[in-house]
């Protein structure tokens, strides 16, 4: 068996095992599922330990004496306090910090690109493309008015037109993504068939 590509063999075996799900749930699929989840979780633990935990503690704190790095380490450790009922409430602090960071970051960096998009809709309504673009943006916006009374005819019919524009957009995105998925499948099928020497 010298020269046999064991790595590809295992890859092909698991690919076929996962494809058996297309027939129905079965023990072969279940074995593949559990090995995959187990491997993924184990890999993540190793990755996070060697990429973040160890370098932060050993290099940044103990070697370079960046003492501020202790703060995220403490926040991280606090997340485990949820397993100790008497102090479980302390685990909410790192979560709150993380949620606040997410909301703040989102707010701070959303407006610059958004203003550019707004400016790009300032078009002269002198061509079919421009009119469609402008109408799609304006009516699409109206669809997402949540506090404006929908009994107002302009908003009501504007939102209706917006809904159709949104559906057209989603349809185009659907086709695009399905095509991409076919590409992924073809690539995987080539991997399997190539290993079995059924194609060159």
């Amino acid at each position: 068996m010298q020269g046999f590509d064991w790595g590809t063999f295992v890859g092909v075996l698991f690919t076929i095992a996962v494809w058996t799900y297309l027939y129905k749930e079965n023990p072969i699929w279940r074995v593949a599922e559990h090995i995959y989840i187990g491997l993924a979780t184990a890999w993540s633990i190793g990755y996070y330990f060697y990429s973040y935990v160890k370098p932060t503690i050993m290099d940044d704190i103990l070697t370079k004496h960046n003492w501020l790095y202790i703060v995220p380490v403490i926040l991280g450790l606090m997340m485990y306090l949820r397993y100790f009922p008497s102090v479980a409430w302390l685990a909410r602090y790192p979560m709150s910090f993380w949620v606040g960071y997410g909301a703040g970051y989102g707010l701070a960096f959303s407006f610059a690109p958004m203003l550019t998009w707004i400016a790009q809709t300032f078009v002269k309504l002198n061509s079919f493309n421009n009119i469609v673009l402008w109408l799609a943006v304006v009516t699409g916006l109206m669809y997402f008015f949540f506090t404006v009374n929908r009994e107002n005819a302009v908003v009501k019919y504007g939102a209706l037109v917006g809904r159709y524009f949104i559906m057209v957009g989603l349809g185009a995105a659907f086709g695009n993504t399905v095509l991409y998925r076919y590409n992924l499948f073809i690539d995987r099928a080539r991997y399997v068939l190539g290993f079995l020497h059924l194609i060159k």
Binding site: A40, R92, G102, P113, L115, I118, T147, V148, A173
Partner: protein
């Protein structure tokens, strides 16, 4: 803001010490929006009237889905997507999760909640525990049904598909940030005959939810739904502020388009465009 807009002139709009370009406009817009959010949250918290968020047609779908699961004596599956708890979509998802968990507690229906991120796992457990407590059923809460599967996208997806096959939920609710796993979940749900309610603000995945779910919440609707269902002042204030921002954007587009009709170089566009 108005001063900056009026002072603007191509190519370098200046007003006194203010440099009215895209960076300044973005900064002003951020501050303005933050003030609107703060004002509306403060009003909502103190019980003062703020504009009402209209009820979305898909919101009754949660009751319907959980009702069906209750009738069939089978569980409900809930996924908040695969983003961390810092994602705004995940935060919105937790508002809806609280409502779903409360309904499940009320009807004594098992809720299986799965996570692909360790931070959402912790928060989801808290949200569900609190919901069961508020429903007067703390004893019915089962921590084993709040599960962390894997932080690998497809590891998580295969875990969820396994749960679909083995534990046979009657309803599948997916609200949050989803990527390629979205269609895997929904297709498996359709094959199992589940009633499915889904929503995301990820444009590439929205078409799959719209095509396969019984009810789909489109983009911003997940934030409005979360605010409407949770009645949380912070969420309500934020959604109303977002709506005001949308109205301002709407007005800007109208004004900008009119200016484009009359001017060769649109000064408003010059300020906003980076």
């Amino acid at each position: 803001m108005l001063g900056l807009l009026l002072a603007a002139d191509e190519p370098a709009p200046v007003l006194g010490i203010f440099w009215a370009d895209a960076t300044v406009a973005a900064f002003v817009a951020t501050v303005l929006f933050a003030l609107m959010v703060w004002y509306l949250i403060a009003r909502a918290r103190s019980g003062l009237k703020i504009p009402e968020v209209r009820k979305l047609p898909g919101l009754d779908a949660f009751d319907e889905a959980i009702g069906r699961a209750t009738e069939m004596g089978r569980p409900v599956h809930y996924s908040p997507g695969i983003s961390a708890v810092s994602s705004t979509q995940t935060i919105a998802s937790f508002g809806i999760l609280g409502h779903v968990a409360k309904l499940c507690a009320k009807y004594d229906t098992r809720l299986i909640q799965t996570n692909a991120d360790i931070t959402t796992y912790g928060v989801a457990e808290e949200v569900i525990r609190q919901a069961y407590l508020e429903a007067g059923r703390p004893d019915a809460f089962n921590a084993e049904d709040v599960r962390f599967l894997s932080d690998w996208q497809f590891g998580y997806a295969s875990g969820v598909l396994g749960i679909f096959q083995r534990e046979k939920p009657a309803a599948n609710i997916c609200i949050g940030a989803f990527w390629a796993e979205a269609l895997l979940f929904m297709e498996a749900g359709v094959n199992q005959g589940m009633i499915q309610v889904a929503g995301t603000a990820n444009n590439a995945q929205l078409p799959f939810f719209v095509a396969t779910a019984d009810y789909a919440l489109i983009a911003e609707e997940i934030y409005a739904a979360s605010a409407y269902l949770s009645k949380e002042p912070v969420m309500l204030g934020t959604v109303v502020a977002e709506d005001w921002a949308r109205i301002i954007v709407f007005a800007l587009i109208i004004v900008g388009t009119i200016l484009s009709f009359f001017q060769q170089k649109n000064w408003l566009g010059g300020i906003l465009k980076k």
